[in-house]
C-alpha cells in the first residue's frame, strides 16, 4: 500500500516543510503520493510532480480550497483514504489542525510529531517537551502520522516527473468560514529552516531593544526567534516563538540572548548543532545546554558582538 502526503501550500508555492515530509514519507514506503487541495493551484501540483521521491500527484482544484479550512479538506481526504496504508503531513500548525480530524473519522489513533521512522508501523516521537523519546508502534489499519519537519532533510525539489492525476472535490461544509490572515512578511530566512537563529527573551526588556538582535541577525543572515516571555510581553510577534508550544528549530547555530532556558523553551531548540548563551545570570539553565556561554550584560555584549563580526573578513551565509 502507498503513502498519501497532504501538501501544504498557498496556491502558488509549496511550503518548504512539505519537502521534509516527503523525505519521511519515502522512508515509510517508497510509493509516495502527494495530495494537493487548492484553488488555481496548478503551479503547486507541477512543482511537487518535479520532486524526486514522489510517485504520483493527486490534484484537486476547486474554489472550495481557496483558503485552508480543516472542515473542507477532510472529506476529500477521507474519500481517498481507502487506497492508502498511511496518511501523513507536517506537524506544523497546518498538519496539527488537520490530521486529528482525519484520524478520528477513520477511527484511528494518530501518531503526532515523529522524529524518526523505525519501520512502517514504528516511530520515535518526543514527549514531555522533548525530555523523553517514546518508541511507539501503531496497530491501526491506516496510520495517521505527522512529521516533525526539522528532523528530516528536505527531499530534492527536482529530478522527478510524477504523473499528475486530477481528483474530485469532497463535500462542502458550512461549518466554518475563513475571514482573514495576517501574514507577517519578512526578507529574513524562515525561522524553521534558517541556518542561524538569534533569539531574544525577557532580558531584552522592550520591543525597541530587539533592534540589537536584528542587527546581529542581519549580519549573520539569521532568522529571529523569541522566548514565550518576549512574545507575551509584546516585544515581538507570535510567529517568532521557539519552544514546546511554538516552533521547533534545529539550526547550525542558535544564539540565545536574555533567555533563561525554561524547559518549554529548550524543547524548541536543544537539538541545535551549536548553542550560544548570552546572559548576565551565570546560574541560568540555558548555560547547561550551551556549547559557548558568555556571562555578560546583553546591552554591552550585543553591540560588541556585532563589532567583532564586522571585523571578520568572511561570514558564512
Amino acid at each position: 500500500m502507498s503513502v498519501l502526503l497532504i501538501a501544504e501550500h498557498n496556491n502558488k508555492e509549496v511550503k518548504p516543510f512539505t519537502l521534509n515530509a516527503i523525505s519521511a514519507a519515502f522512508q515509510i514506503n517508497e510509493d509516495v503520493h502527494v495530495l494537493v487541495l487548492g484553488s488555481n493551484s496548478d503551479t503547486v501540483a507541477k512543482s511537487i510532480s518535479e520532486c524526486s521521491n514522489v510517485k504520483k500527484v493527486i490534484h484537486i482544484n476547486n474554489e472550495l480550497y481557496e483558503n485552508y479550512l480543516a472542515e473542507n479538506y477532510t472529506s476529500a481526504i477521507i474519500k481517498l483514504s481507502g487506497s492508502y496504508s498511511h496518511i501523513i503531513c507536517s506537524a506544523n500548525t497546518f498538519g496539527k489542525n488537520l490530521m486529528p480530524r482525519i484520524a478520528a473519522l477513520l477511527d484511528v489513533s494518530q501518531v503526532s510529531d515523529i522524529t524518526k521512522v523505525i519501520s512502517e508501523d514504528t516511530f520515535i516521537r518526543p514527549i514531555y517537551a522533548g525530555n523523553a523519546f517514546a518508541t511507539v508502534k501503531s496497530n491501526d489499519k491506516i496510520k495517521c502520522v505527522t512529521i516533525r519537519p526539522t528532523s528530516f532533510d528536505p527531499a530534492p525539489s527536482s529530478g522527478g516527473s510524477a504523473e499528475i492525476q486530477n481528483g474530485e472535490p469532497g463535500d462542502a461544509t458550512e461549518l466554518s468560514k475563513f475571514i482573514k490572515k495576517e501574514e507577517i512578511k519578512s526578507d529574513r530566512p524562515e525561522l524553521g529552516t534558517a541556518r542561524v537563529v538569534v533569539s531574544g527573551g525577557r532580558g531584552m526588556q522592550s520591543g525597541e531593544n530587539f533592534k540589537l538582535i536584528t542587527a546581529v541577525a542581519d549580519k549573520l543572515n539569521a532568522a529571529i526567534g523569541a522566548s514565550r516571555a518576549a512574545v507575551d510581553a509584546g516585544y515581538i510577534t507570535n510567529d517568532h516563538q521557539v519552544g514546546q508550544t511554538g516552533k521547533v528549530v534545529v539550526p547550525d547555530l542558535y544564539i540565545a540572548v536574555g533567555i533563561s532556558g525554561a524547559i518549554q523553551h529548550l524543547a524548541g531548540m536543544k537539538e541545535s548543532k551549536v548553542i550560544v548563551a548570552i546572559n548576565k545570570d551565570g546560574e541560568a539553565p540555558i548555560f547547561s545546554v550551551a556549547d559557548y556561554g558568555l556571562e555578560a550584560d546583553l546591552f554591552d555584549a550585543l553591540p560588541k558582538f556585532l563589532e567583532e563580526l564586522n571585523k571578520l573578513n568572511t561570514i558564512q551565509k
Binding site: 514527549i127 475571514i179 558582538f305
Partner: protein, 249 residues
Amino acid sequence: MKILVAVKRVIDYNVQIRVKEDGTGIVTDNVKMSTNPPDDNAIEEAVKIKEAGKATEVVAISVGEEKAQETVRKALAVGADKGILVKTEGTVEPLAVSKILQKIVEKEKPDLVFMGKQAIDDDCNQTGQMLAALLNWPQATFASKIEVKEKSLEVTREIDEGLETIEVNMPAIVTCDLRLNEPRYASLPNIMKAKKKPIEQINASDLGVDTKPRIDQIKVEEPPKRKAGIKVASVEELVQKLKNEAKVI
C-alpha cells in the same frame, strides 16, 4: 448558552521529569501534578464569557484516574459551576478521550467545548480536533482571541505565518493557546465554595467506550545528553571560537 471545558491532570510544567530505568515510562509517583497549562486558559475564557453574560453555565470535565478530581475541583474554584469526572485507568489515548467527551456532549448538550491545544505530557495536540470530527462540529484550534456572536464565534488563531481569523458556527470546539488570556488564581473563599459544588462521577466503562490503546509504547528513553560546553570570558573569544573552533560563522 452552556460551555463544557475539558481539563487534564498532568505533571507540573516546572518539574524536570525522570525516565524510568526500565524504559516503561516516566516517574509519576510523588511528583507534583497540576492542571495542564492551556486548559487553565480554557477555563478562564469560559468563566469570562459567563461573567460577560453570554453564557449561563460552565461545566468542567476531566477524564482520568480518581485523583483528577483535584483538577476538576480547581476549575470549580476558578468559576465553573459543576464538574464531571470520567474515571479511567492506565493510558487513555486522545481518540478514546474524544469518544468519551462525545458521549458527555450528547448528554450535557453544550453549545461550546473548550480545551487546551495540547497536553504538556503527551504533546499530542489531537483531542479537540478529534472531538470536532466525531460530532461533525467546526473546530477553532490554537485560539488566541475569541469573540462570541449570536450564533457563531469569531476566533483568531495562532498559525506559523502569523494570525488567522475564522468564523465557526455554534456548536463548536475551541482549543486554546497560552496567549488567549491570563488565568486567574482561585481565592481562598472560592476554593472553600468549590468544595460544595457537585462533581458527578462516571466510569468510562459505563459509557460503552473502548479505551484500550491502539498504539503500543515500546519504550521510553532519555534524549541524548549534550556534552557540557564552556564559558568564554569575552565577546572576542566567543567570536573566535564560533569562527575557528565551531566553524559556524
